[in-house]
Every structure is written in C-alpha cells, then in structure tokens.
C-alpha cells in the first residue's frame, strides 16, 4: 500500500516572511547582496542633528520664561528620531573643600584625588524612554541604555566636576528697593570676600530626558550621539543667593531639646545670564554599531549552478543595524564609541554566534572613525 503525498511549498510575500522568519528573510537578502533596509553592507543611515529649539537658550526658542530646559538636541537617523532635553538642579557638596585646617589631611585628600580618576569626572542622570505604544514602567532596554549612557559619560572624562561648580552670586536689595545681583567673577577683589565667607559649595546636577521615536534597531548609539550633541548646547544659568537668606539659622525643638540648625536655603537662577557648559572638547566622541552574521549556505537563493563561489566569505559585516530582521537574527554585535582619530571612550563587542575575528574588529574601527568624523561635522 503506497500512498504518495504531494508537498507543496508555501510561498510567503516578503513582508510576511520577514515577520514570521526574520532569519531566513535576512539570509535571502544577504544572498542577493543587499539588506532588508536596502542599504549597502557598510552603509550608514543619514544623520541630521540640531538643537530642536527646545532649550530656553535656543536661538529660535519661543518660550524663555517657563522653560527650564538648558540644553537639547533633535537627532534623526533614517526614520528614527531622538529628542534629548537637559534640565538641571543644584546640590550642596558634602565633600570638604581644600581649606581644611588640618594640613596633613589636605595632603591626603590631594593624594587620593590624584589617584582616583573618576573623582574628577562627573556625569548626567539620563532617563531613556522608547515609544513603543505601551504603557507601564521602563523596559529592560530603557534601563540598560540609561545606565550605559550614565557610565560611559562618567568614565569618559568628557564632563569634569569643575565644569559643574556653581560660582554663586549674591542678590542685594538696596535701601531704595532696587535689586542688584553680583557674581564673584564680576567682582573686584576686595568684594570677593563676601562670597568666600559663605563657606559652602554647590554644584550643578544635570538630568537628561531622552525620547526615542520610531525605534527600528539598537538605540544606544543614537542616544549617546543625541546626548553629546545636547550637552554641547547646554548653558548653565548663573545662580545667586539672596543676601537676606545667606546666613539663616532656624531654632528647632524636639523632645525637649533645642538646637539651631542651618537652613538649607534655595539658590535662585538668573533668568537671563548664563555660561556655556565647558566640555572636554578633545574627548568628545560618537557611537556607531555593527553586526556580524554567518552566511547560511542552505538559505541562499539558488543561483546559477556553475557559479559556485568557493571564495565567498562565510560571514559578513553590516554597519548600523536596522530593521527587526537584522536586530533579531544578528547576535554578534559591536558598538564602538570613538572620535575620528580612533580615541575610544567605550566599546562593547558581543560574540553571540558568529565568530568575531581581529580583522573584523579592525574594519569596524576603521568605519567608526569615518562615521565619527561625519557626525562631528554635523553637530
């Protein structure tokens, strides 16, 4: 008893195949020497960056009164766009300043400051949000990207602690009721004393809100580039204390004991005057990402049988991963953050399945430098 069964191959339209079997779809594309996003293997998406007129200091900003954004960027890469807005805060430093009376300790402080590299570096507190049409808490990707941005900036040395020190002014109310604000660097020497007598130290704190729209691939590099370009636009408002509040002590009583404590008073920001944030320009760098995938011989579209390319590479390098097909089937990835001269700030290489050879790393580094040069020219 023999029965023959006819097997009919099922044919899917390309977009359906891309959805149900992204890996096969990608392999088919690769065998035609193209990519699902129709870019060349080593071709990047176009990038456009501007400040989006979001910051209160933007040239075309329509709202400088209630706007508390002090730096911004709008980055577009293909269809994806990233909006970064930077806001600020002020914190009182707990660490002692240099004029400790104990000289021995001062030396020790200096010693430890020299050695701990990160002591001098500062960073920003980023919150990345990816619009995905769902409500709920941050996803893993958002958390991981935020943390990575935070750490990379901290370790990079792009933002130094000194750049965030507040040089605090004093607002005086004259007897006639007129109000003047004086900043220490605008003062004459003898007047500087007022400021120094006030033995406290403040720093700016920076926050970044990074929103990603039309996500279509890994977001870390886009967020980093957006963050750096936003940082470049940051203006720190001049800050001052009201003279009347400069030395405020408040008596408190609890459980039968009384004590005077120094009130933590508010520092106000000058609505007009600001200084640009000093970044370590030489350290600025930009990110790009790459994927490496093995060519699966079985998934190749049948070509002319005579053309059996024996020398064909078994794996290919793709720049700037885009589309779900690439992202989900490429497990070996590189993410490099460098400037055009090959000075790195971060590198993440993940060997998911395809083997990563030194030659590939070299090629990626070469492409990264070019890409950084390109982005640098656009920021």
């Amino acid at each position: 008893m023999t029965e023959s069964i006819d097997i009919h191959p099922i044919v899917f339209p390309p977009e359906v195949l891309a959805r149900i079997s992204p890996d096969i779809s990608l392999q088919r594309h690769l065998s035609l020497e193209t990519r699902p996003c129709s870019r060349g293997f080593e071709e990047f998406r176009d990038v456009a960056i501007n400040d989006g007129n979001i910051s209160r200091y933007s040239t075309n900003c329509q709202n400088a009164t209630t706007n508390n954004i002090i730096g911004s960027s709008l980055l577009r890469s293909g269809k994806t766009f990233v909006i970064t807005s930077i806001t600020g805060g002020i914190i009182e430093e707990t660490l002692p300043a240099n004029n400790t009376e104990d000289v021995g300790e001062e030396e020790l402080m200096k010693l430890s400051e020299d050695t701990d590299r990160l002591c001098e570096n500062s960073t920003i507190y980023p919150v990345v949000e990816v619009q995905r049409g769902r409500v709920g808490g941050p996803t893993d990707e958002e958390m991981i990207t935020s943390e990575k941005l935070y750490k990379t900036l901290l370790h990079s040395g792009i933002l130094k602690k000194t750049a965030l020190a507040v040089s605090c002014g004093i607002r005086r109310t004259e007897e006639d009721g007129s109000v003047t604000t004086i900043y220490s660097d605008e003062l004459l020497d003898e007047e500087k004393k007022i400021n120094e007598a006030n033995n406290r130290k403040w720093s700016y704190v920076l926050y970044a809100k990074i929103q990603v729209f039309s996500r279509n691939g890994p977001i870390y590099d886009l967020c980093w580039n957006s963050l750096i370009s936003a940082l470049k636009t940051v203006q720190l408002p001049r800050a001052f204390l009201d003279e009347r509040a400069a030395d405020l002590k408040i008596a408190i009583r609890t459980r039968g004991r009384s004590m005077t404590i120094r009130e933590t008073y508010d520092i106000l920001c000058d609505p007009h005057k600001s200084l640009p944030l000093k970044l370590n320009e030489g350290e600025l760098c930009y990110g790009s990402n790459y994927g490496i995938i093995d060519i699966e011989p079985l998934a190749q579209l049948a070509k002319n049988d005579d053309e059996m390319d024996v020398d064909k590479p078994t794996s290919v390098l793709l720049a700037d991963i885009e589309t779900e097909a690439e992202e989900s089937s490429i497990l070996s990835t590189l993410s490099l953050t460098t400037n055009k001269n090959g000075q790195f700030k971060a590198a993440t290489i993940i060997g998911g399945d395809s083997k990563i050879t030194p030659e590939m790393i070299k090629r990626c580094i070469f492409l990264s430098k070019q890409r950084s040069k390109d982005i640098e020219s656009k920021v």
């Binding site: 002692p96 300043a97 400790t100 009376e101 300790e105 033995n199 406290r200 004590m259 404590i261 120094r262």
Partner: protein, 305 residues
C-alpha cells in the same frame, strides 16, 4: 506567583508519626536549636549565618544623608530583606508581597529596628542637616526553615561588628575619614534581641481545646523547611539577655495556653543567652584578629618615634 514545594501524603504522614515518637528527620530533639555558625567576612558588618542548611548573609553599610525633618537628631536605619530564588525556587525575585516575605521583613523590622536595638541618635552628625544612613541588607542564600531566627542573628552580629568611618565636624563642614586612614567607630548597640521560633503540630488533627496529660499537641523549636510547611501553628518570641521580651508574634494557627507561652519564653531564654554569647564571642575574636595586625603596625610606629 512562584510555585510551591510539593509534599506527598506519605511524607507528611511519616514526618508527623516520627514527631510523635520524638524524632525529627535531622535527628534533633524538640527543643534543640540548630547549631549556629557565624562567619565574618573581610569588610566591617559582613556576616554569614549558617544554621543547618539555612544560610543568611547580612551586609551593613552606611552613607551620609539628610535626617527626616521631624527627627533631626536621629540617623536613618533601614533593613532590607528581599528574597531571590537563590534560597529556593519558591521565592520570586523582587516580589516582596508574598505572605512569607512580608512576614519575615515585618518580624525583623519589629525585632531589631523598632525595639531600639540600634542607637539611631548616635548616627546624627549635624542635627537637622546631616546624619548617617545605615542599611542592613539581608540576603537569604539558602532556605531550610528558620529564616527569621537566622536573619535576626545575622543583623545583630552585623551591627555589633560594623564600624562607620570617623567624621570631623568643623562648623558646617563635615570631613569623612576613610577607614584605612583613621580608626572607624563602632555603632551604639543598646541590646541584642534574638528571635526563637516555635512550631506547633496537632498530629491527631482533632480540635483540642482541653489541655491535659493526653494532649497530643507537639511543640518544636527551629523548624526545618519541611516542618514549616506542615506545621499547624507558629510562635516567634524575641528576647534579649536582660530577660526582656522584645516582641511576641503569633499569627493565628493553633490556639495556645498562656502558661505554655511563658514556658516557651523560658525555653527561648536559654537559647537567646547562648546565641548572644556566641555573637559577642565571634565579634570579639574577629576584633582581636584584626587588632593583631594593627598591633604590629602601631609597634612599628612606636619604634620610629
């Protein structure tokens, strides 16, 4: 919600039958607390407590923070007891809303923090503006019953062992001296509360309200995981060496007589006394071991001068 451990009818029946014969699976008697092993790690306030197959790690740490506005003279003290599936797959990561998880964290909170075991006023640096914020992170590594008792020992040993960096206050300025630079300071521990948990079984499974000679109710100390899963009632008493009852918790389960409660406290006191001494001994030994090293250093210094 994570899944529960399955116990077969045969197994539960056997464990109860053995208990009737005064036999526990691990060979202990009813009132025998497992041997407690207290190990101290490299850092100050790093303690691992092992009781049979139960293992709990506690880490004390501190940082400078602002005191609560209504308590300007007090530092902050927080105990974190978060479970991970490391202790057993019945625990879920980050989910602290389970009945058992809540109970554990409430008990430790009541036994240690609310009993005033730690002198929080000693954590004050500048009233109203700066104070130490102390954390006790309790990590449950392996759960074979008795997590509350073990955690309490671990936290108390940690607090006794921990030293916070010395600070100098000059007016409004606070200088923190790293611990390798200046001898750090111990915490003010006012008393050492120890928890002892009793589990009750009613193997005949009948309502027994008359307590008499023929009462089949069984009470054991420091139940293992399986005993915990099968018990009909539980009582945790927290005492200190001064014979002060810090707290008693009995959330439902088998009803118990007032007299047997007092009996439990007496039994617990013997255990509390022993464990308190053990904690002090271990901490002292560690201090001596650390000091030996310091001693060499200081004698060298003495020779130089």
């Amino acid at each position: 919600m994570a899944k529960d451990i399955e116990i077969s009818n045969a197994e539960s029946k056997f464990i109860l039958e053995a208990l009737k014969l005064k036999q526990r699976l691990d060979g202990r008697s009813y009132d025998q607390f497992r041997d407690v092993k207290i190990e101290i790690g490299e850092a100050y306030g790093d303690v691992t407590v092992t009781m049979g197959n139960t293992k709990v790690h506690c880490r004390i740490s501190c940082e400078i923070a602002q005191p609560y506005e209504d308590r300007p003279f007090e530092g902050l003290f927080h105990i974190s007891t978060e479970t991970t599936p490391m202790a057993g797959a019945q625990f879920e990561n980050g989910n602290n809303t389970g009945e058992e998880e809540v109970l554990i964290s409430r008990m430790i909170e009541k036994a240690v923090r609310r009993s005033g075991a730690l002198d929080v006023e000693g954590l004050c640096i500048i009233a109203g503006s700066k104070c130490w914020s102390l954390r006790a992170d309790v990590h449950f590594l392996d759960c074979d019953g008795g997590l509350i008792d073990a955690s309490c020992i671990a936290v108390m040993a940690g607090l006794l062992h921990f030293k916070k960096p010395d600070v100098t206050v000059l007016g409004e300025r606070v200088t923190v001296h790293p611990i390798d630079e200046r001898e750090p300071v111990s915490l003010g521990v006012l008393h050492v509360p120890i928890c002892v948990t009793f589990s009750f079984f009613n193997p005949d499974d009948t309502e027994e309200n008359i307590k008499g000679e023929d009462n089949a109710e069984i009470s054991i100390i420091d139940a293992s995981l399986k005993e915990e899963l099968l018990r009909d009632g539980v009582l945790t008493v927290t005492l200190n060496k001064n014979r002060e009852v810090v707290q008693i918790s009995k959330a439902g389960g088998l009803p118990m007589e007032a007299l047997s409660l007092i009996d439990c406290c007496h039994k617990a006191y013997g255990i509390v006394e022993k464990i308190t001494d053990q904690i002090h001994r271990v901490v002292k030994q560690d201090t001596i071991a650390r000091n030996q090293y310091a001693h060499i250093l200081s004698s060298e210094n003495a020779r130089e001068t």
